[in-house]
């Protein structure tokens, strides 16, 4: 087994078939040899029969010649003599033929020698008989024949011939035996060879079949791998390409199909020689072309440039190429990949920008000390605010432990370590406390320490933000004092309002009361003018009393506690509408109130608002017979604005800014009564609710007052 696996399949098949062919050739040779041996042995049989035939004919001719001689002896007929001559010729011819036939066999040659010696002697004897006869005429001849000299000759010839025949027969038998043996061998060889060839062919067949199966499997695997490769390329974000290199020029030879998905160009376009260079951004072209030279020198190149996609937009592309050389070092081909890096560059730029912004921000902040500590509490970074607040420059402080910012007693109490431990444990530590500047002075600091951890959660350090609150602490103290003063002033104001309500009203009451008394008790002594003057005095006191009451209302609105709760504005408006109509039943006013307007407000104060607005609307529609008042809600700048609208006298928008000031009036008192405090009260209430109030109007076209509630 051991040498086989190392041989290539083709070699094994070749050897197998070679062996089979050799066997088949051997079988053919054996068969050929066997058939020629059969032919030869058949020749030998014929040869033997020839020899024997010649021998028998020679004996017959010798016997015939003797008979002819005897016939002549008896009859004297010379015809027998003719035959005898013919027999002599025949015998010589036969003998020379026999010599030819037995030329390979020395034993037979020797016997033939003896035969050739005997037969002429016999012929000689017969010739002597015939001579004698001619000379002695008949009698003598009989004597020769009968002497018995002829008979032993004949026997000897016969014996010789018989021995020669035996020899030939034996030779034939021997040759036939050899022949048969060889034929058996051949049969065996043919059979064996055929079997062997069959086995080899079978083995080769099995081998080929197995190999074919293996190849088919390999092909399928290859096809699958190719399919996967194509899919990988198709779904990849990288375009793969190859360029043939000839000297200094590159020509595209292959490009992955995803180029269409990514750039919009078909592969046929992308494989055109000038495609790449034509779509390079003009500003990048010369740089990229210069870099191409480096590719030849350094064998590889990574660059980025802008490339125009099919839709006309330029995309940044990251291109990595590698040069392949042949054995002689000749540049062969360039392989590369190509990725749209626009998004990545944008993200990088955004990150850079944000980092820069962050660096600028932290670097330029002056009111906050923003710096980093390593996990042990040593200062790593330092911003301008830190310089400003603590007095150290970055060179002085970076590398030092942050406990130098703490007063000695805090350091002794372990405050710095505690702060870091808390920040590490909870993620954040915050306190307000005293800290030290470089010059040893103390400042009140707001400190936030935040633990900074990396992605694995390992402590990376601490971010520390410190603010100098000394000034604010002082301001807070001041504010507290001022607030207390204000509160005291408010109490005084309350007392003032109280006394105003008592003390200002009392003299008015007297003025009015005694004027009345004069009118009643001294009417007879006063003429009409005097009575009119007293009436005017009374009217003036009434008006002043109303002013005082309104001022008190305004002051109360500012000072009272507010309770914010859901209020049904529509219901409140209906109540007020009822009050207005019952208070002045002579008038006919159409009052339209949007139902179910729910708000959150102080009910009492909201009532004052609606009372004033609806009261105004009532008042300023007094001169109209078709008076109409609307209460409702609209959307204004994303919030709900409630409104009270009338179709009354209205006002000139030029004076709108004066509307909400105390004692500001846009109408003469004789025209419409009032003190000008109502809208100031409305504005105060709306402001206390965090809302806005405004009005829209035109002279003679009514007015709409809007308000919002936060």
């Amino acid at each position: 087994m051991s040498p086989w696996p190392t041989l290539a399949f083709e070699r094994r098949i070749q050897i197998g078939f070679g062996v089979a062919v050799a066997i088949i050739v051997a079988i053919g040779a054996a068969a050929l040899r066997s058939s020629s041996a059969t032919l030869e042995s058949a020749g030998w049989v014929a040869h033997t029969l020839d020899v024997r035939g010649a021998l028998e004919r020679a004996v017959a001719i010798a016997i015939g010649a003797e008979s002819d001689v005897r016939g002549y002896e008896i009859s004297g007929d010379s015809a027998f003599l003719g035959e005898y001559d013919a027999a002599r010729t025949d015998l010589n011819r036969l003998l020379s033929r026999l010599r030819e036939l037995t030329a390979d066999n020395p034993t037979q040659q020797r016997r033939l020698d003896s035969l050739e010696a005997l037969i002429p002697q016999r012929i000689e004897l017969l010739r002597q008989i015939l001579e004698a006869h001619r000379r002695h005429r008949i009698a003598g001849a009989a004597g020769v024949m009968s002497t018995g000299r002829v008979k032993p000759f004949m026997d000897e010839i016969r014996g010789l011939v018989a021995r020669m025949e035996d020899e030939e027969t034996r030779l034939l038998a021997a040759r036939s035996a050899t022949m048969r043996a060889r034929a058996d061998e051949t049969r065996l060889a043919v059979l064996g060879g055929t079997l062997l060839a069959l086995v080899l062919a079978l083995a080769a067949g099995v081998l080929v079949k197995r190999e074919l199966g293996r190849r088919q499997l390999a092909e399928e695997t290859l096809r699958a791998a190719q399919g996967r490769f194509r899919q990988v390329l198709a779904s990849n974000t990288a375009v793969i390409y190859a360029n043939k290199v000839a000297g200094e020029t590159f020509s595209p030879s292959w490009i992955s199909e995803n180029v269409t998905r990514i750039t919009g160009y078909g592969t046929d376009e992308a494989l055109q020689t000038s495609w790449w260079i034509d779509h390079l951004h003009p500003d990048d072209r010369s740089r990229v072309l210069a870099e191409m030279g480096a590719l030849v020198k350094k064998e590889e190149l990574a660059t980025e440039y802008r490339f125009r996609f099919k839709d006309g937009t330029y995309h940044w592309v990251h291109d990595e190429a590698r040069l392949i050389r042949d054995a002689e070092g000749q540049a062969l081909e360039v392989f590369g990949s190509w990725v749209d890096s626009t998004e990545r560059r944008r993200a990088e730029a955004a990150l850079r920008e944000s980092e820069e912004r962050f660096r600028l921000l932290v670097g330029t902040v002056r009111d906050y000390a923003i710096y980093m500590l390593d996990p042990n509490g040593r200062v790593v970074s330092w911003n301008r605010g830190a310089e400003q607040i603590k007095g150290y420059s970055a060179e002085e402080i970076v590398g030092r432990h942050f406990s130098c910012f703490y007063p000695p007693e805090a350091v002794a109490a372990g405050a710095p370590e505690h702060a870091l431990a808390m920040a590490a444990e909870k993620g954040r530590f915050e306190e307000e406390n005293w800290r030290l500047r470089k010059d040893g002075s103390r400042f009140w600091a707001d400190v936030v320490i935040t633990a900074v951890r990396d992605e694995e959660g390992k402590l990376f350090g601490f971010a520390k933000v410190t603010r100098d609150l000394t000034e604010r602490k002082r301001t807070n103290e001041l504010l507290r004092r001022h607030t207390a003063q204000l509160e005291a002033a408010n109490v005084e104001l309350d007392a003032f309002a109280y006394s105003v309500s008592h003390d200002l009203r009392a003299p008015l009451r007297s003025i009015d009361g005694f004027s009345q008394a004069l009118l009643e008790d001294y009417a007879g002594r006063l003429d009409a003018a005097g009575q009119d003057y007293l009436q005017r005095v009374r009217a003036a006191t009434q008006r002043m009393a109303t002013l005082i009451d309104d001022l008190l209302d305004l002051s109360r609105v500012t000072r009272s506690e507010m309770t914010i709760a859901p209020v049904d504005l529509s219901e409140l408006a209906r109540e007020l509408a009822t009050e207005l109509t019952s208070g002045d039943p002579e008038r006919h006013v159409e009052i339209v109130i949007t139902p179910d307007v729910a708000v959150r407000a102080d009910r009492g104060l909201l009532r004052v608002v609606l009372h004033n607005l609806m009261g105004n609307a009532w008042k300023f529609t007094g001169k109209r017979s078709d008076a109409r008042i609307e209460v409702g809600v609209v959307a204004a700048d994303g919030e709900r604005a409630y409104y009270v609208r009338d179709n009354g006298a209205g006002f000139d928008m030029a004076y709108a800014s004066k509307l909400f000031g105390a004692f500001q009036r846009l109408h003469r008192v004789t025209e419409f009564p009032g003190t000008g405090v109502g809208l100031a009260t409305v504005q105060r209430i709306i402001h206390r609710h965090g809302g806005r109030v405004w009005a829209e109007s035109a002279v003679g076209r009514g007015a709409t007052f809007y308000f919002t509630l936060s």
């Binding site: 009392a506 003299p507 008015l508 009451r509 009361g513 004027s515 009345q516 008394a517 002043m544």
Partner: protein
């Protein structure tokens, strides 16, 4: 006792103008003869609980109604009210609080101390006179003493 001058109304008021005008209103309704005026809180308290030497006091005589101004010198009206309502002898005496203030703490305090009525003195004298005399009359009639 029946000979003693009957005091029907005690008016506690420091402002002489208000006193004059109030009395004028009572006169218009023929009530002025039975009005006794205290000029401050101390005088009012002396009327009820004071020394024997009080010149105008007739021990054992109770007014039928007290009209009490809240803003008074020496002892203020609320204090007078508190003392009147704290003493079993004067507890049932109807007290009508008169004030020029609509300030809610005053109203609430007066009612809490047991004031029976509350009148904000209007600047308009006619309505003031009407209110005072009507309230005074009401309590006079309601608090009619037997005999």
């Amino acid at each position: 006792m029946s000979l003693a001058p009957e005091v029907e109304i005690l008016l506690v008021e420091d402002d002489p103008n208000d006193v004059e005008l109030t009395l004028r209103a009572f006169r218009a309704r023929n009530l002025a003869n039975q009005v006794f005026v205290a000029r401050d809180g101390a005088e009012a308290l002396a009327f009820f609980f004071g020394e024997e030497t009080h010149p105008l006091r007739d021990i054992g005589v109770m007014p039928r109604v007290v009209l009490l101004d809240l803003k008074l010198p020496k002892v203020d009206g609320l204090e007078v009210l508190r003392r009147l309502k704290a003493d079993p002898r004067t507890r049932s005496l109807p007290v009508v609080v008169l004030t020029s203030s609509q300030e809610e703490p005053d109203i609430a305090a007066a009612y809490r101390l047991g004031a029976n009525s509350y009148i904000v003195k209007p600047v308009d004298f006619e309505s003031f006179a009407r209110a005072v005399s009507e309230v005074g009359l009401y309590w006079l009639l309601l608090n009619e003493q037997p005999g």
